[in-house]
C-alpha cells in the first residue's frame, strides 16, 4: 500500500455562530470568531489517497484526475468565498475547521474513481490543523 498526498490552498472567510445560543453564549464560546462580519484564513488542504501501485503506469492514482476532482469539488466551491453564506454545508452548521474537513471528505469521497481516500487534513493556520479519516 502506498499513500500519496496532494496539497492545495484556498482562502475563505467565515464566522462562528449558533442561532440556538444567546448572543452572550455565542460571544463567550466563540470569542472573536463570533464577529458576524466574518474574518478570513489561508487554508491549506492535504488530501491523502492510498492504493497499490499500478504496474503499468507506476501510479497510485492519476494525479491529473485527483487535481481535477479537488479543483472542481472543493476549490471552486470554497476558494474566495464567505463559507457561511455561499457554501450549502455551512448554512446550517458552523464552518469550523473540523466541519470543513468533514465537508471536503464528503465532497471528494464519491468522486474519486481509482484511489481510496485515506485522510483529509485542513490547516486553518500553520499552527492548527484537523485530520478526518471518514470515521463515524
Amino acid at each position: 500500500m502506498v499513500y500519496l498526498t496532494r496539497k492545495a490552498e484556498f482562502s475563505a472567510s467565515h464566522y462562528y455562530h449558533n442561532p440556538g445560543f444567546t448572543p452572550e453564549e455565542n460571544a463567550r464560546l466563540f470569542g472573536k470568531c463570533n464577529n458576524p462580519n466574518g474574518h478570513g484564513h489561508n487554508y491549506t488542504l492535504e488530501v491523502t489517497v492510498k492504493g497499490v501501485v499500478d504496474p503499468k503506469s507506476g501510479f497510485v492514482v492519476d494525479l491529473k484526475q485527483l487535481k481535477d476532482v479537488m479543483n472542481r469539488e472543493v476549490l471552486d466551491a470554497l476558494d474566495h468565498r464567505f463559507l457561511n453564506k455561499e457554501v450549502p454545508e455551512f448554512v446550517a452548521q458552523i464552518p469550523t475547521t473540523e466541519n470543513i474537513a468533514i465537508a471536503i471528505w464528503q465532497r471528494l469521497e464519491p468522486k474519486l474513481k481509482s484511489a481510496h481516500l485515506h485522510r483529509v487534513r485542513v490547516y486553518e493556520t500553520p499552527d492548527l490543523f484537523v485530520d478526518f479519516y471518514g470515521e463515524a
Binding site: 462562528y16 449558533n18 440556538g20 445560543f21 464560546l29 466563540f30 470569542g31 452548521q93 458552523i94 464552518p95 469550523t96 475547521t97 473540523e98 466541519n99 474537513a101 468533514i102 500553520p126 499552527d127 492548527l128 490543523f129 484537523v130 485530520d131 478526518f132 479519516y133 470515521e135 463515524a136
Partner: protein
Amino acid sequence: MKAYLTRRYMVSASHRLHSEEMSAEENRVTYGKCNNPYGHGHNYMIEVTVSGPVDPQTGMVCNLVDLDGFVQKQILDRYDHQNLNLLPEFAKGVPTTENLCISIYQIMKRGFDKAHLDKVRIEETMLNSFEYAGGESLVAGR
C-alpha cells in the same frame, strides 16, 4: 463524526544530556556534543493532538480556548525559557526529547479532560522529531 485536532506550540529551553549511570567517557560517546557540561538550547515545537466527535452545537472537537489555556499554564509556563535539567522530572532522568514528550503527555493526560488526548509530538530541530501516544512500557526494561 470523529475528527483529530492538532495545535502547535513553541518553547525555548536548554538541556544537557548526561546520565549519572554512565562514566564520563560513556556519556561522551553516547551523547556527543549534547554532553557539553554547559548545556545548549533548542526551540522545541510541540504538537498536541486531541480527538473526539465533532459537537453538533459548536462544530468543535475541543474549544481551543480550553486547550490553549491548559497548555499555557501547565506546559508552556513550566518549560519555556527553563533549563530542563533543573526541573524535578529530570532530576534523575535525562531530558532527552523522548523523555520530554512522555512528561508532556503525562501532564496532559492527567489534567486535561475536555477532549481525548491522542498524542504529543515534538520537533527538537527541523531535522528530528519524537512522538508519544501512550502505552504501558514507557521505559525499556522497567
